[in-house]
Symmetry: C2
Subunit: 226 residues, 2 copies
């Protein structure tokens, strides 16, 4: 018996489903490693092809360009985060507890789940922190949004907003708070590592507990006022 788990992602993101073939999986696996190593700007399909002993043309059979590959990788992470939030809040009654669980997933899903596939989620998380904003900060946002590229992210934010509403139905900005928590997590991890004067927290040896505390203080400070 063999179990194979497939991540369902927007088909328009790729030309050929990379999860279907050996080479496809290698592209996913090593693009994560290479983007982490050299950064998204310096990353090219040619360098990736060299790394996996394949050719540029072969990579182009899977993804139209590197931007779509990036969005694909990010959607993977977001989809996984959403699953994680759903799974871990399933039998929880207390909305506050739910929100705490969601925040811990927002801060770092990779730390809390075992890897099941060819994706190194720990490295993927570093990409999310460093490159995620580039997914939608382009001139093509509107077209890409119409094509559904950001459905995963939006539905993740919606899920978090729903929990926020449960905690305080009268809070006027549930969606804004949800997206802010998502953005803040990445920002403050990045700031702590590169521009520490822009935050008050520290991230020592991948210990993200202070980020979690910050987000909890933020969320509950806004939602629970007496």
């Amino acid at each position: 018996m063999s179990i194979s788990i497939q991540m369902q992602l927007n088909e328009r993101l790729y030309l050929k489903n990379p999860q279907d073939t050996k080479l496809g999986k290698k592209i996913i696996q090593y693009s994560i490693i290479l983007i982490d190593e050299i950064g998204f700007e310096a990353f090219t399909f040619k360098k990736l092809a060299e790394r996996i002993n394949s050719t540029e043309a072969s990579v182009y059979r899977y993804f139209e360009n590197k931007h779509r590959l990036l969005v694909y990788l990010l959607c993977w992470y977001w989809e996984w985060m959403k699953f994680h939030i759903d799974y871990n809040t399933m039998n929880i009654e207390d909305p506050k507890q739910k929100l705490k669980i969601a925040i811990s997933a927002i801060v770092d899903t990779s730390r809390r789940n075992t890897s099941i596939q060819f994706v190194d989620e720990d490295v993927l998380h570093r990409i999310v922190v460093a490159e995620a904003t580039k997914a939608y900060h382009t001139k093509q946002v509107d077209e890409e949004n119409k094509e559904g590229f950001f459905l995963t992210y939006k539905s993740l934010a919606k899920r978090i907003a729903k929990i926020i509403k449960e905690v305080n139905p009268n809070y006027p900005y549930p969606r804004a708070l949800a997206s802010t928590l998502l953005e803040m997590a990445n920002n403050h991890i990045y700031f702590a590592q590169h521009l520490p004067s822009l935050t008050d927290i520290e991230v020592k040896e991948d210990d993200l507990s202070q980020v979690e505390e910050l987000l909890e203080d933020f969320a509950f400070g806004l939602l629970i006022r007496d």
Copy 2:
């Protein structure tokens, strides 16, 4: 009599001070317009040179590459925002009032100040909203930070953090709140325009008052708890 105002910016950002010459000023003026038109990714020195009837090589005499030009433009805006906050809070006693003034500057400095130079601050603000995160989301952050590229931004954040501390000296995350307000403003303007389900606010006909309300609710909600 003639008054000429110069914006003091980090000298390492440019090879030759663009504020010193006609061509330099044209580069600043039209790079803002062109980046706004086609986005930073598609923007090249060649296209800029064509637009101003000059040559690629001439543009390269001022800036090493387009990334440094972007940082230069953003620093311009941040420097200006800082000046604006300082100027408008000068004779104000009440810290809460100071923070409100700061927030209104964060949301949109361009709307509140008359243009004095060859820079169209309104268009520059659109660039800040759409492209600002790209300034420091690169593999070279650490080196560039050492070179002082982000001093302007950091000192702006520090100024805002100082006001936050005046409002509530016991708040544990003044710097994080300052940078979050700066990031949030851009994010929610952008979301309202391109990914509206990620926020609760609306931006109609460049009316940013709802962004201001959101940031005020955030800041005071966190700082004033009874």
